[in-house]
Amino acid sequence: MGLRRSVKQVKRLLRGQGHLVTKTGVPEPVGPVHPGTLPMVRPRQGLTRPDAAGLLGSTLRRVLPTDISLPFTEPAQITEQARQAIREGFRTVKLRVGNHPQADDARLAAGRRAIDAEPDGEPVTFAADATGAWNRGEAIRRLRCWAPCRLAWIEQPVPASDLEGLAAVKRESPVPVIADESVLGPAELRRLVRSFRLKIPRFADLAPHKGRSTGIKPESQIPIEGLRISRCFRRRHKCRRRSHWGSVFVMGKLTRRRFVSSVLLSSAAAIAPRAWAAAPAKPGGTLICGWEAEPGAFDNDIDRGAVTRTLLHNIYDRLVDRDMTVPTSQPLVGNLATAWQVSPDARTYTFKLRRGVKFHDGTPFDAEAVKFNIDRDSDPSHKFYTKAGAGSLKLGYGNLASVDVLDQYTIRIVHKEPFADFLEVLAFGTYSIASPTAIQKYGNDDYPNHPVGTGPFKYVGREKGVKVTFERNPDYWAGAPALDGFIVRPLPEAVTRVTALQTGEVDWINAVNPDSMDAVKSNTNLTLALAQLPNTWGYIPNHKYPPTTKPALRQALNWAIDRETLARDVMKGLAIPARGTHAPGTPGYDPTIKGYGYNPAKAKRLLSTAGFPSGLPLEVWIPAGGAGSPFGIQMNEFIQQNFKDIGVAATFQQQEFQTFQNNMANGIQKDVNAIQVGFSVDEFVNLQRMFRTDLQPPNGNTNPGWYGSPQVDALLHRALGTTNDVQRRQLYFQVEQKAVDDAAWIFVVHQKAARAWNKKVRGYVNPASYMFTFRTVSMS
């Protein structure tokens, strides 16, 4: 609409010309009416149209696109109606949903198929309107199931009055959410603006209207995310009772006063909203991604680091998975398993497998294939046993009693010990299921160059150092991805990577370097978004040798750190203060844990309590370069100063990598008081490895500080045997709280990753994870 003037200005202008502002327009066709559009209307008196348009800084439009809403009809009819509508010229097809869940599934699928089947032309937007039919849980569940239908948005998923529910759905939904009935007037909008971080686009003016202030500050001062006017006067009757509110917004169309504004709530977690404009979810296009390193080979069972592992998620499926199309707190969902049963002792897992799934090589997926994959990485007598695979999957498959195929689509996995965290472990990328036929064909050595999975994309090939190519799996069981494929381009130099994005040579990049973030942000063609990583950066104190054995001293060190300043200034916003073990947005995050703030006075008091009123020296080891963060050195220097402020003279010893690793494996020795680490802490099972007494060195290297507490051990032991998820969560939350109270670590920050992409890239969900998927992406 391109309006650049406020209501006041326009009114002044019009009055100056002797025109009335409040005249109502009456529809009057100008020229032949084209189906799928609405005729512009002519004001009964006053301004002529071109005058008005020009005055308003806009251009005259002869036609105004509108959408078509398909009613609750049978799937077959939907196909017909959608096809008809597209041929008539409609470019937005909206489906009414919410009457009957099963019927909706079929109707949505039919709608999507009908749209995809249309020959190329202008892209058609596909959306749905639930008119408040669901509760929040139901809404989130449905929307996740419908991810393959690639909806551009969902309107009013929960009842109009349930703003909190709307917020909850917005947070979890893979589809942008529009508030429709929830915004009837200024009061509702005010509430919405306060409840969410809304984006008010340029064309919306929120100046006071008819003496009633909206109480909303002008655009420039509002935390912005996405407000949009969606309705047209096709719904005049419905709109009439919705007050004058619309006219405040819709100044480009003086004659169309009775507008309803709809507010689009976009993701507040990701800085950048997902495409709110009608995302043309038309199949096609190739995404080119700038990678920060050359990916390794694509073994399904070896972790070659996040740069490779995230690609495993695109090639392969696992039995269960964290749904990466959800931005935060990714739910654990069935992937190749559709259902599972866990025995009360948490040892026996029986999985029902998805039927009709085929590997990329055309061979069928079944229980034998799963057994082959598990045996290959756990049974030394298996013909294709790999030590490297067994080493890498020891956590999940290291203690198996048996793996039995019960029937073609049922498999039973029995552990020797209770292992209630097994499902979460299975969701890790390296538990991917590969085609047994391919492994047999190529052998263990060559298989990684010919990876064959069941995932949304097929591996096509690679030119080392140049590109790795993937193409759409048209038979993907959850619906083929929109992209024709994607290309991974290794661009190790950070400046080159950003430049290639800016010049359009690549469409999407990972690991934007901190110095380039402003340049990317200021480029209107690009979107920069931070993703909270499941990462915890801090110090592990020595719990075995004094003086750090005193809880008061460890707490004092925790209170001494100014995490806010550290995250904001030193780390340029690429981190948030750590309150405990798990970062927000990770499945193990407990918002009730308050952790430690910045309170030097309290730290000094605690230091006295611990018996060091005049301070003390500390010996801290850090890995060479301050590992685990690009800011490692500056962070350590900043914290050293924080410690100094409370009288603790910390000596930071840089240790070369090997020495440091040996220390981790052998435990911290007597002369060292703490070591600095940056751990990936994603699932609850990490707590087992970080805090269990029996996993102290030399039985593991993730508890190098010899932390041990009988209470924590008991909780962790109980958690392993607790199959009820809610109870298990509670147990782990207790462990986290105890670890924080004990100051088991000196928790510092949770780091973030900066990713950026061209605005042409639609539908990319930026999850709070090292992993991501291109399954939902399309190119415009």
Binding site: T286, A293, N449, P490, Q661, G700
Partner: protein, 317 residues
Amino acid sequence: MLSFVVGRVLATVPVLLGVSVVVFLTMKLIPGDAAQVLAGPQATREQVELIRESLGLNRPLYVQYTTWLGNAVRGNLGRSIELEAPVSSMVLDRLKNTLVLAIGSAVFAITIGVPIGILSATRRASLLDRASVVFALFGNSMPSFWLGLVLILVLSLHLRLFPSQGMYSLRGPTGFGDLMWHLTLPALTLSGVPAAALARVTRSSLLETLHEDYIRTARAKGIAETRVVVRHALGNALLPVVTLVGIQAGYLLGGSILVETVFSWPGLGLQLYDAIGARDLPLVQGGVLLVAGLFVCINLAVDMLYSQLDPRIRYTA
């Protein structure tokens, strides 16, 4: 002549052996091995040991080295740990890309460096001469990755004249023109140091030659100055220049690691960079060995070129 060549070729064997031992030991000195990288930072020792065993990294050093050497002599350079592919084909694949870059840079270096040297020698102490000295100092002392980034920011990001990375476009046609377009910036960057060195050596060598008696004789005969410089002086002054070109060719092959990384040029240098990051010893070994072998070959070629430039030089084994 033949015996000279045979002798020189034989002499390369201990050189290459030495290089392989040094690389092997250096890679062992770099902290962390491939098993540790594969297992990740939070793996238990047991996990790392299993992976180390599967890679054969638990065997004594001399066994690892001699096994590798035995295979290498038979042309088998082993398998890359990170990319699970035979090293010999991987390094040869990349070599041609590096050669393209090296030739491009050599062309730039010679066409920029030699004329500057000639001009500044013939206009000694002029403003141009001083500027060329500054250029040589600047070219020699600035790091190539810095020059690369500056060129990317100016010519690629702001002026949009050249692509910032890669050897071919990922979208659109890929032909010879596309290759040249992609080659310009990395070749220009890589030519910075050799161009400066060539300018300096050409200048001093030409200055020296211009003071020779026969030049005075030529001038006395009334031959035009241009002809004196080009026909009489330059040929004789080129000897040290050619030696330098040979040495710089080695630099162009081995020293392109940084430039290739900055421009994501899929050559040996970028491969070495990735391989070192992944502690992929077989790949590092193979890559360095190839570069060393090439270096030796180029030096040999330069030595043989002398006789063409200066017939007085004779070879004895």
